[in-house]
Structure formats: C-alpha cells, structure tokens
C-alpha cells in the first residue's frame, strides 16, 4: 500500500484514509473544533517526519493513533499550564472570545458532556474515546497506548463509571438550579 520511496504520494494516501478518524479522536479529546484541526495537522506532520522510519510490519492505523495520543496529551499539558494564568484575572476577558453563534450552538447537554470528558484523566480520556468512539479492539487500544490489555479493560471501566457519575451529578445540578 505504501511506497516509502515516494514520500509525497504515501503521505497523501495515508492522510486521506485516516484524517477523519484522527480528527474524531482529537475533537472528542479536546472538545473543540479549532484545537482538533490544529492537532490533526500536527499529527500528520509528525507522521510524515517519522514515515521514513516506519516499520512496514506494524499496523499503520495503531501507529498513527499512538502519535495522535502523544499529540493530544502534549496539548493537554500545555493547556493545563496556560490554564493557571487563565483562571485568575483573564477569566473575565475569556468569555468575549466566544462568538455569539458558537454559544448558541453549544447546548447545555453538550456542555455537560464536554465538561465531564475534560475532567477525566488524560489517559482515561484516551481509552474511552479509542474504545467507544473510534471502536478499536482492546488489543489495538493496548498497542496504541503501549500498555497491557488488562490495563485497557480496567481503565475503560473505571473511566466509564466516572463519566456516568459526573454526568449524573451535573444533570442533577441543573434540575436543582431550575427549581
């Protein structure tokens, strides 16, 4: 499938075949279309750069996703760092950044889901999205995250449990607020 001698045509084939899955993973991970697009770009730049060293016997999809997971977690760390500043003085300014139509589109339910996902530990978040959204098998997920299959299973269940609990709590808050 991939002719490594022709870098240009191989990266284009790879990109067109996988960008949608990668984007979906990243959009769920970051909860934001713009970030997800930037990160998708970053993923394929890294894929291109490491393509000459790609071993043809490994599964290309899990390989791409292991890169995507690194990109996502790097982004999460950076965001966490900048969040320190945002939490203080700048929070008041931040609300202006959102375009009015964007705000309308984000329904309350979506907001809760984004919020709940963003509170998961990054590793748990990756497991949930890979298994639940991208529908990777346990084995593939383990290959992407470079951990054992049993850890994938355990993490997945814990993450789901946390997610459900968070959603329930938040949904409860809405009702109590509504009263």
């Amino acid at each position: 499938m991939i002719d490594l001698k022709n870098l240009e045509s191989s990266i284009i084939v790879i990109y067109n075949e996988h960008y949608l899955d990668v984007f979906r993973f990243l959009v769920c991970f970051s909860g934001n279309q713009n970030d997800a697009e930037d990160l998708t770009q970053e993923v394929f730049i890294r894929v291109l750069k490491s393509l000459p060293n790609f071993k043809t016997d490994t599964n290309i999809k899990t390989w791409i996703f292991s890169i995507a997971k690194h990109v996502a977690i790097d982004h999460y760390r950076k965001k966490k760092f900048t969040a320190i500043f945002k939490d203080g003085f700048f929070t008041r300014l931040e609300s202006k950044d959102k375009k009015p139509d964007e705000e309308l589109e984000t329904t309350e339910l979506e907001h809760f889901i984004h919020e709940a996902i963003s509170r998961l530990k990054p590793n748990h978040r990756a497991v949930v999205i890979l298994r639940g959204i991208n529908e990777f098998s346990v084995k593939e997920t383990a290959a992407i995250l470079q951990c054992s299959e049993s850890k994938v299973k355990v993490d997945y269940h814990r993450a789901l449990r946390d997610l459900k609990r968070k959603l329930n709590v938040e949904a409860g808050e809405v009702f109590s607020n509504a009263k």
Binding site: L7, E8, I11, I12, Y15, N16, Y19, L20, F23, R24, V27, C28, G31, Q33, A36, E37, T40, Q41, F44, I45, L48, K49, L109, E110, I113, H114, I117, V128, I129, G132, I133, L160, L163, K164, L167, N168
Partner: protein, 300 residues
C-alpha cells in the same frame, strides 16, 4: 443512567464529526509541500556526499600522478574550486524573488538606433534586460530569483487588448509563478520613467547610475506591508548609495490601479532610470538594488 452505547452515541453527537472543508484541503497541500521539501533535502544530502567522495578520489589520484608538477597542482585546485561551486548551485534553492516587466517594451533612447526621440518603445531592446540583470546580480549573491521575460506587448496585440490591459496580462503571469513556487516572497515589477537624463541620473564615486523610484499602490490590502518593504529598500539604498533612490511614491488611487500588488506582500513597482539612460547606468543600479535586497532578505 444510560448504557454504554447510548453514552457513546451522546458523546459522538455532542462533537462535530467533520473538520472544515478548507482545513482538509489546506492540510493536504501543506503535507504535500513538506514531503517534497523532505525528499529534496535527502536527495541533496546524498548528492553532496557522492560528489564529495568523487572529488576526494579525483584529488588523491591526481595528486599521486602529478605529484611533481606544481603547475598541475594549481590547475587541479582550480578545477576543484569550480566543481564545488557548481555543486552548491545544485542545491537549487526555492526562488524568493520574482522579477517581471508589465510594460516590457519600455526602452532607452541611447540604446536604440537613430536616436529617434519619439521612439521610446522597442520589442527587443527594452527594460526586460534590466530585469534580467537584476536576476543575475541576485543569483551572484546566492539569492534565488526568477526573471520572467514574457513579451506582454505581443500578448496584448494577439488578444486584441489595449496598453491599459498590461496589468491584466502580467497578473496571469504572477499568479502562475506564485502557484508554482510558493517560496516567492517578493514581486518586483521593473519599469523606467519618462524623466530627462538630468533628473534620472546621479553620479556616485565617478560613475553614472540611473536613479530609482519605488511605487506602491494605495488601493491594496497589502498597502502597509508593501510600503514598509519599499521604505526599507529606500533606506538601505540611502545608506549604501546616497541619492540613488528618489523615494517611495504612493499611487494607484486615481485612476485606480493595484499594480497587482494585492497578490503578494513585499510587492513594489520600480522605475529604474528614465528614457535617456543607458543600459550601463541601469545595470549599475540593478546591481546596487540586488545588494540591498540581499541585505533585506538576510534581516528576515
């Protein structure tokens, strides 16, 4: 609460499932370019390794054979110098500067036979040579440039257009160049003006130079950037060749003309000399200009 499937469905539905269309295409283009430049660098690396090996062997062998002949050794070092020069030229750098002449038939009276004052346009002896000289001067300074020598006047005749449509034709040329070479950073449109010799010439260190005028259109989005670029050229020229530059002229309002400076930042129209200047004088100015452009590029 919900079962797992429902929950996943909710998560899916709460996120956009497709990236923007523009994004898909622009990312593909970006990857294409990166891949191309990667292939190029590896090719250059391989090539330079191979060529240096060959040179090394050639040198050792010749040294063994011509050990006693000092003349031979000198000849040899000359050929080696030349070879390594040409191998650096092979690194074929992406072009940064694009040079063209919208009014390509603008000519110089002293260069035309018969010195007919009315004859200030020529199909073959014209401002195109000045653009060519600028390209050569830039390449000598290892700045990659493209010079377009399209005979725009001929195209106008073929298509039954008027002189005023020159900018429409040159626009097509620029757009093609910008599409082919995304590395282009500067667009230089070379003209000459109609001023007299006394106004269009300056003597610096005993040599006559054709004066240079920089024209920026006020009616483009790039106006600020182009003006800054032109002013930088003016300042640099003032430092190195005081009096050579006549300054930056802001035009294009009435009649409205963008001079195609909306296509790329760092676009400027240059009047090099007037009708009564010679090629010698304009070439000197082209060399001076190349020097200045080199310095500006190095500042980036």
């Amino acid at each position: 609460m919900q079962n797992e499937k429902e929950l996943m469905k909710m998560i899916k539905e709460s996120h956009p499932q497709h990236p923007g269309k523009d994004f898909i295409q622009s990312t593909e283009n970006m990857l294409r370019q990166k891949a191309r430049s990667m292939t190029k660098t590896t090719r250059v690396k391989k090539y330079s390794l191979a060529s240096s090996l060959i040179l090394f062997f050639a040198f050792t062998f010749s040294w063994l054979f011509f050990f006693n002949g000092s003349e031979a050794v000198i000849n040899l070092s000359n050929t080696i110098g030349r070879d390594s020069l040409s191998s650096t030229a092979l690194n074929d750098k992406e072009p940064i500067v694009f040079i063209y002449q919208t009014h390509n038939v603008e000519s110089f009276i002293p260069e035309l036979e018969g010195n007919n004052v009315n004859k200030v346009y020529s199909e073959d002896i014209n401002v195109t040579s000045v653009g060519k000289e600028l390209e050569t001067a830039l390449e000598e300074r290892e700045i990659s440039a493209i010079h377009d020598d399209t005979n725009i006047s001929e195209i106008l005749v073929d298509r039954n257009l008027t002189f005023a449509d020159s900018y429409t034709v040159s626009r097509e040329i620029i757009q093609r160049a910008l599409n082919e070479h995304q590395s282009i950073m500067m667009l230089l449109d070379i003209h000459r003006d109609a001023s007299k010799k006394s106004e269009s010439t300056i003597t610096i260190d005993g040599m006559d130079f054709a004066k240079i005028g920089l024209v920026v259109s006020k009616t483009t989005e790039n106006y600020e950037a182009n003006k800054a670029f032109a002013s930088r050229i003016h300042e640099k020229l003032e430092q190195l060749y005081p009096g050579l530059s006549q300054g930056v002229f802001e035009k294009g309002v009435n009649p409205k003309n963008t001079y195609n400076q909306d296509l790329q930042e760092n676009s400027v129209l240059l009047n090099i000399g007037g009708v009564e200047n010679t090629f010698e004088e304009t070439y000197r100015t082209a060399d001076a200009l190349a020097e200045v452009i080199k310095e500006i590029i190095e500042e980036y």
